[in-house]
Homo-oligomer: 221 residues x 2
Amino acid sequence: MKILIIEDDSSIADYLVKGLTEAGHVADRAGTGHDGLMLASQGVHDVLVVDRLLPELDGLSMVKALRNMKIATPVLFLTALSRVDQRVEGFEAGGDDYLVKPFAFSEFMARVTALARRPPLTKIEPVLTCGSVSLDRLKRNVNVATHVVDFQPREFALLEYLLLHQGEIVTRTMLLEKVWDFHFDPRTNVVETLVSRLRAKLGPEGQIIHTLRGSGYMAKE
Amino acid sequence: MKILIIEDDSSIADYLVKGLTEAGHVADRAGTGHDGLMLASQGVHDVLVVDRLLPELDGLSMVKALRNMKIATPVLFLTALSRVDQRVEGFEAGGDDYLVKPFAFSEFMARVTALARRPPLTKIEPVLTCGSVSLDRLKRNVNVATHVVDFQPREFALLEYLLLHQGEIVTRTMLLEKVWDFHFDPRTNVVETLVSRLRAKLGPEGQIIHTLRGSGYMAKE
DNA sequence: CGAGCTTGTCACGACTTCGTGAACGGCATC
DNA sequence: GATGCCGTTCACGAAGTCGTGACAAGCTCG
């Protein structure tokens, strides 16, 4: 899940980014209304978390501008303003939910998940399988044949993405976007290196990752 | 937790009452606005769940009447009316949250819990065990292998939380929130330090606490 | 008011992770 | 079979993460 945090108080932003990252999500951040608008207008995020009081361009105006651009990404307002009429303003500007500071991280997380219209990880199929490799998204571990193998975060994310797209071609560019959050060509062989490490850890089962010359990779039995 | 459901559609009311009861809560119910007002005005409930379209006295008017009586019990509106201006009406009448039908029970539960500002009831399991470590929540002591070890309150809370979530990832953010009640990033390594102390006290059994780089910790044999 | 205990903070060191660049190897085209 | 391209693997090193001991602030209890 990819979340954009638009918040000028860096201690709060840090806290949210850290919490989301630990939970296995990708978090982008912006410190001003303008930056936030630019990033949000790409429309690549699942949820926007917007502080109402921002430098340059306040949160309400930012969301209104976004809605005028026909960007429908769900918005969670995050603010210290708790009066009824202030909440109402939030909804009228096009917000989808409203969370008053101070708040508990778990509540924040629950609301973000609800807004993304994605069932929480606990409700979906948490185990991805391919051949004798099975990856548990909740416990964050991987079973190869009979024994558990340890994976580093990046390796885990890579394998997860490959298994989610079993039987489909996964291009290098897609991997860089989704696993590394790179939006440019690093001009190095990061992907290949990591795939190599992954295959090594998978041992004989490493062959479920097929190379498609000139295109990318594919996970298949 | 005691919840009052004011809903005329008995299939929905049944569904909610059943779910709440199974989760260990007490649910009262009323089928009309008048009955609901009478029950709610006693002020004994933690949360009111109110349908907007009710016979005799509609939900909005009911909540307005309640607020006039200075009853501040949190209200969750539950309705099929989802337009922005309808949501706004809900807040203006004195509602605290608004959930649009159809909804998932888990989301309903999360919102009710949030409104009551109380952690969800966990089954009261007096003794938590993992390997040869067992923690008695009533006597507030811990047995490691054969002998009793003294734990400080914070250490105890940390171990309790880890054992309650055996086999699950416990992120630093979750720990800060549930064990320390911090809702921000302390920017220090409190968690690591306490984990270190905990492991030291557990001696050889300290290895039931596994480190998950980049995510947090997990208790497991 | 002082002793002792608890627990947060800091500093430092060890370890892990992961990107980089280079060397190697195999496949395809001619 | 030669050539060039693409993918694989390895070793290195920088950055980041985690563990631990020492210290200090705050609290409790006498």
